[in-house]
């Protein structure tokens, strides 16, 4: 299979981990939400939305994060940017722990890491013109004002494929694809290093989705950006990402090079089922269906041991006992399964 062609042609693409210090290192990151309700409202229960996640992203790399609804993808992205306070762990951006920064240090740090949301329609204050929306980060972090500010806004908008003559229009006058371009422009206004993309195309029409993906890939090349690309659409992450992390119930169950994962190298039974479930256009690519039994478990009440074991076709006794660790089975391919490696 020619899937290797999908990988970018950057000079150090093949071995970003070995050569340079990673841009982002996430260690043992956890986010637990206290929830009330149920039969005993006085008893606090916790949703372990993100549960001990480790990952690294090299400079100019794209790490894709996939998983089913509610598995914690968005929470992971928000916790990395500290838009929610993680329960524990470390998030090191160029070696500096974001979780230890004070309020003002954090605000200053924010110019280096930005986010693009899933829903472009609600990403903008309806009362702000395009100019004011894109200028907000610049006003907050720089001394640019007046004409210089306007010029910078026009420049970054044009870079994102939006003509500079719509500065005084309001968000509801644009289509979803146009708004997403403006959202990307706003995120790029300060030249960030890391961009978290939380399902940036899933609210868009198929014919528009490709425009945005192409734009993101071009910007990454031109501006040397690093992406954390969250999506539930496997074909999108396959196309955009260098490596892919598969999440299940708050944990990473497999992390591997994209090409390896899609050319039959997937090892974790959940990853395999996920790959087999995605509807495929090309009949040659269609794998034998692995239809999983049952649904995704309640994250507030996860199964003991390996959270996937009740749906796993090959579960053994050990799987219900202890949660498997994420181990390297060679070449940076990480898998968390009792039946593999170990």
């Amino acid at each position: 299979m020619s899937a290797t062609a999908a990988r970018g042609a950057g000079p150090d693409r093949g071995m970003p981990l070995a050569t340079a210090a990673p841009l982002l290192e996430v260690k043992e990151l956890s986010v637990h939400f206290a929830i009330r309700g149920g039969l005993a409202p006085w008893r606090r229960r916790y949703v372990r939305a993100v549960d001990g996640v480790d990952l690294t992203i090299g400079r100019r790399e794209t790490l894709g994060v996939v998983g089913e609804s509610g598995c914690g993808k968005t929470t992971l992205g928000r916790a990395i940017l500290r838009l929610i306070e993680p329960t524990g762990g470390q998030v090191l951006l160029e070696g500096q722990d974001i979780l230890r920064l004070s309020g003002s240090e954090l605000r200053a740090m924010r110019r280096h890491m930005q986010i693009v949301f899933q829903n472009p329609y609600s990403s903008f204050d309806p009362r702000f013109t395009v100019l004011n929306a894109v200028a907000e980060p610049l006003r907050t972090h720089t001394r640019l004002r007046g004409e210089a500010l306007r010029e910078r806004v026009v420049a970054v908008l044009e870079q994102c494929g939006m003509p500079g003559d719509m500065l005084y229009r309001y968000p509801h006058e644009f289509s979803g694809g146009q708004l997403q371009r403006i959202a990307i422009a706003r995120a790029l206004a300060l030249n960030p290093k890391l961009l978290v993309l939380d399902e940036p195309t899933s609210a868009l029409d198929v014919s528009v989705q490709a425009q945005i993906i192409n734009l993101l890939l071009r910007l990454q090349r031109e501006l040397e950006l690093t992406y954390l690309f969250i999506s539930h659409d496997l074909s999108v992450v396959q196309h955009t990402s260098d490596r892919i992390a598969v999440m299940y119930l708050g944990k990473i169950v497999e992390l591997s090079e994209t090409a390896a994962l899609f050319s039959g190298g997937a090892r974790h039974p959940y990853t395999r089922a996920l790959l087999a479930s995605a509807p495929m256009l090309d009949p040659e690519l269609r794998r034998e269906r692995i239809v999983l039994q049952g649904g995704v478990p309640d994250p507030a009440n996860p199964p003991p041991g390996c959270a996937f074991h009740p749906r796993c076709p090959g579960a053994e006794e050990a799987c219900a006992q202890a949660a498997p660790a994420l181990i390297d089975i060679g070449g940076g391919h990480l898998v968390a399964c009792h039946r593999i490696g170990g």
């Binding site: 299979m1 020619s2 899937a3 062609a5 999908a6 990988r7 970018g8 089913e68 609804s69 289509s175 979803g176 694809g177 146009q178 029409d205 198929v206 014919s207 528009v208 989705q209 490709a210 425009q211 993906i213 192409n214 890939l217 071009r218 090349r221 539930h232 496997l234 074909s235 999108v236 396959q238 196309h239 955009t240 899609f262 089922a273 996920l274 087999a276 479930s277 995605a278 509807p279 495929m280 256009l281 090309d282 009949p283 690519l285 269609r286 269906r289 239809v291 999983l292 649904g295 995704v296």
Partner: protein, 327 residues
């Protein structure tokens, strides 16, 4: 092909709104054969749901069929009275929606809701209805039907709720099931389960299925034939193998090229410029011409009609093709 079960001919639906007249459906034409799994695909707002609702005679307030025909068993549904349509809904044609939670009544048990639907359309005893309800719950592969029968909607997951909706649709022996994005709100692993279930009941019970979706992969994996809609009109229709693998219409071609696929170089996705037009101000002529790379003068002025371009009823509405074909 024998007489189709359902045929929609040149259907037009308009909505009168504050902002103006919305042309929601503009000449939808397709047929669904007996026992056929038919896909209706298109991007958001192209009139898929409104078409489905029009078939059931349930167009929301403010909207009305402006012209066209909907034949079911050869009879025109648009001439039926409200009472006649109520009898047809559920009994002969059933519909399931994207959001099952919004369709199920939260204060009644699953069982009582299915029993009510059954008894509305047939004159059988409560016990008989109960037995049939349990049978259909079993038929959609829900575990432990008696427990599900007693459960309330919120006690079930999204995938299970969608199974219940399918069970309800089947409980009266409907011949046509209209499924409007039945898996869009579900996870891929659950989506695979539901699509498998639909394929199986089609095979077992011979039900025709009209699957409304925007996911071309879903169509490729499940449907026999497919119609691609753009701005309220079918632009290409035919067998899945023909439409998805030998597309003729520039829009279908563009849509397929826009999907990321294995082995494709980065930044090489072909995107269709511009965005989907909206029903308030449709472009003249072929609605796709402002985004079409090969548009000619004729495309601006005249609406192309569906013409046969290949075997097994592969038809396309495009001036370019007709010209080439004629030449």
């Amino acid at each position: 092909m024998s007489e189709p079960l359902l045929s929609v001919e040149e259907l037009q639906v308009r909505f009168q709104t504050y902002a103006g007249r919305v042309h929601a459906v503009n000449g939808m034409t397709f047929e669904v054969g007996r026992g056929e799994f038919f896909g209706l695909v298109g991007e958001s707002g192209c009139g898929k749901s409104v078409t489905g609702l029009a078939i059931l005679g349930m167009i929301p307030r403010g909207g009305a069929v402006a012209s066209g025909r909907i034949r079911f068993h050869g009879e025109d549904l648009l001439t039926k009275s409200d009472a006649q349509m109520r009898a047809i809904r559920g009994r002969h044609i059933a519909m399931i929606f994207q959001d099952p939670a919004a369709t199920l009544n939260p204060v009644f048990t699953i069982g009582s809701q299915i029993v009510r639907v059954i008894r509305q359309h047939t004159s059988i005893s409560p016990e008989e209805a109960r037995r049939r309800a349990l049978e259909t719950l079993d038929a959609v592969a829900l575990p432990d039907p008696p427990r599900i029968f007693r459960a309330y909607p919120h006690e079930l997951s999204g995938g299970m709720q969608q199974r219940v909706m399918i069970a309800m649709a089947l409980s009266c022996g409907a011949e046509l099931l209209i499924a409007d994005e039945p898996t869009t709100a579900l996870d891929v692993t659950i989506q695979a389960q539901i699509l498998g279930l639909l394929a199986e009941i089609r095979r077992r019970q011979g039900v025709s299925i009209l699957l409304i979706t925007h996911n071309l992969g879903v169509v490729a994996e499940t449907c026999d034939r497919v119609a691609v809609a753009y701005a309220g009109r079918v632009v290409e229709v035919g067998r899945v193998e023909d439409v998805l693998f030998r597309p003729v219409h520039p829009y279908t071609q563009g849509l397929l090229a826009a999907l990321p696929r294995a082995g494709q170089a980065k930044e090489s996705l072909l995107s269709i410029p511009g965005s989907v037009p909206d029903g308030l101000a449709l472009p003249s002529g072929c609605a796709f011409h402002p985004r079409c790379a090969s548009a000619v003068e004729l495309c601006r002025s005249g609406e192309p009609a569906l013409t046969v371009v290949g075997p097994d009823g592969h038809r396309v509405a495009c001036h370019l093709f007709r010209r080439e074909g004629a030449a």
